[in-house]
Amino acid sequence: MNPTTLFIDVCYLAAALLFVLGLSGLTSPRTALHGIYLAEAGMALAVIGTLLDHSIITYEWILIGVILGAIPGALLSIWIPMTAVPQRTALCHAFGAMAVCLVGIVEYMHFSGDLGAARMVAVGFEVVLGALTFTGSLIAAAKLQGTFPGRPLTFYGQNYFSFALLGLMLAILGYLVYLQAASVLFYVLIGMGLLFGVLLVLPIGAADMPTVIAILNSYAGLAASATGFVLGNNVLIIAGALDGGSGFILSVIMCKAMNRSWANVLFGAFGAKVQGGAAAIRKDLVYNDTPAQDAALLLANAASVIVVPGYGMAVSQAQHKVRELADLLENRGCEVRYAIHPVAGRMPGHMNVLMAEAEVSYDKLFDMDSINNDFAHTDVALVIGANDVTNPAARHDKSSPIFGMPILNVDQARNVMVIKRSMNPGFAGIENELYYNSKTRMVFGDARAVVTQLIQEIAENSD
């Protein structure tokens, strides 16, 4: 035990604690930012500790790598719109996992494959998890960005093929453990891992991508843990395990909020079949196309309004205008509240982030359970770019793919006003019967444009 080793170990232990404290900070919005600072400090300590390690002999190359990564990372985070956060997270995962995989390759080359049984197993897990997270995350990002078809892509017997691939990978790993010498099979293993990642994500629809990203987060964490075992580095083990546990549990929470089983998300190719059937727009039903002027009149006379934001509000970045509208109505004596559905938008808690961005105070945001009974006593439910989370079919239509998902009781309000661009379906790809309800008024147009117009109309009328 020399002083440097001790110092490094203290750094690592402190880093691990800071990660735990940092994540614990996220249990309340008041402590969240503070928590992130702690986690950042933890990362800094872990890096400092590592740089002091005697096994590091050149720093130039490290500096080059850091610069190459930090600049695009920072730029991306500064310029990206909030709606694209899921893609960004997936992209980050891809690069982090790639790093893990490359580290595994370096280790393998360095020891010419002769790592001892335990370490070889760890390296095997490291590269396979890294590889599949890399390709899986890239595809997830592409699906979310729309550069890649969002619908599930499957082929006959895909699940069997995947399982066979998994078995083969385990067999190769077993052989490598037995061999204890450099072998091209190691690179074959990585190739199969890359393929496996593709097969894992392709059959899943874009609507389920947030869940997939949480699972990939879990894999990325496990890969980092495996690296920790290879290098005998505790902070890697702990940070990786924290992510491994949290990613998994987060995916479970998200599945529960959508009333889906975890297995169904992963293997169910959700959204594949509905493309054909229920998605066809039912031309036989009538809906009420309302001009913005009329809508403004209705709002101006309402005593109570519940705003239901959804993905469309995020897309058109209408949150600030929505807040303006709410302020205007409140000044006229109307009670305005927001109903936040847990899976509205494309990320869990997506609407909370947007409303916080628009500086709407927390006490006006209500979650589903606490506001659902109040719709019945409300003059206007103002649905802004939300669709699936308001679809009454989830309550009664057993054949609907969203059947059983808890929804907001928008249809119980005295009047319903829906702002969206067309009669097109939302993410689940299904018709929303709410739109054909006699008390529903459809106000077509981009959410921000419509809300801006509503503000003008109401402001003019009141003068």
């Binding site: 992130i36 990362m43 050149t58 790598g65 995962h93 790093a99 080359m109 360095h110 847990p342 808690g349």
Partner: protein, 105 residues
């Protein structure tokens, strides 16, 4: 890593998984999006491994791979923390405005 260290590492791993589980189940839906990017940033801890690969002097190929790894992991760390920070600032501004309704916790 010998057998005993491996075993101890396993204990560390299992306990850390439990800690992760316990912490995350307490995070309110409200903060799930920042949570995802925060854990994403933390998974960039693979930077630590990449540093060893890039700076360990294992030969030109290893160094090249290492540099790419460092770049990827740094991208992950910087990007992840930055965006989380950006998101949470929205919440921070709210802080004074009002207390969180208990139902949202």
């Amino acid at each position: 890593m010998d057998y005993q260290s491996m075993m101890l590492g396993l204990y560390v791993f299992v306990l850390a998984v439990i800690v992760g589980y316990k912490v995350i189940t307490r995070v309110p839906t409200l903060l799930h999006t920042p949570l995802m990017s925060a854990t994403n940033a933390i998974s960039g801890i693979s930077l630590v491994g990449s540093l060893v690969a890039a700076g360990g002097g294992f030969g030109p190929l290893a160094t090249l791979l290492g540099v790419v790894a460092v770049a990827g992991a740094t991208f992950n760390v910087v990007g992840g923390f930055w965006i989380t920070d950006r998101m949470l600032r929205f919440f921070k501004r709210e802080q004074a405005a009002a207390k969180l309704p208990s139902s949202q916790r």
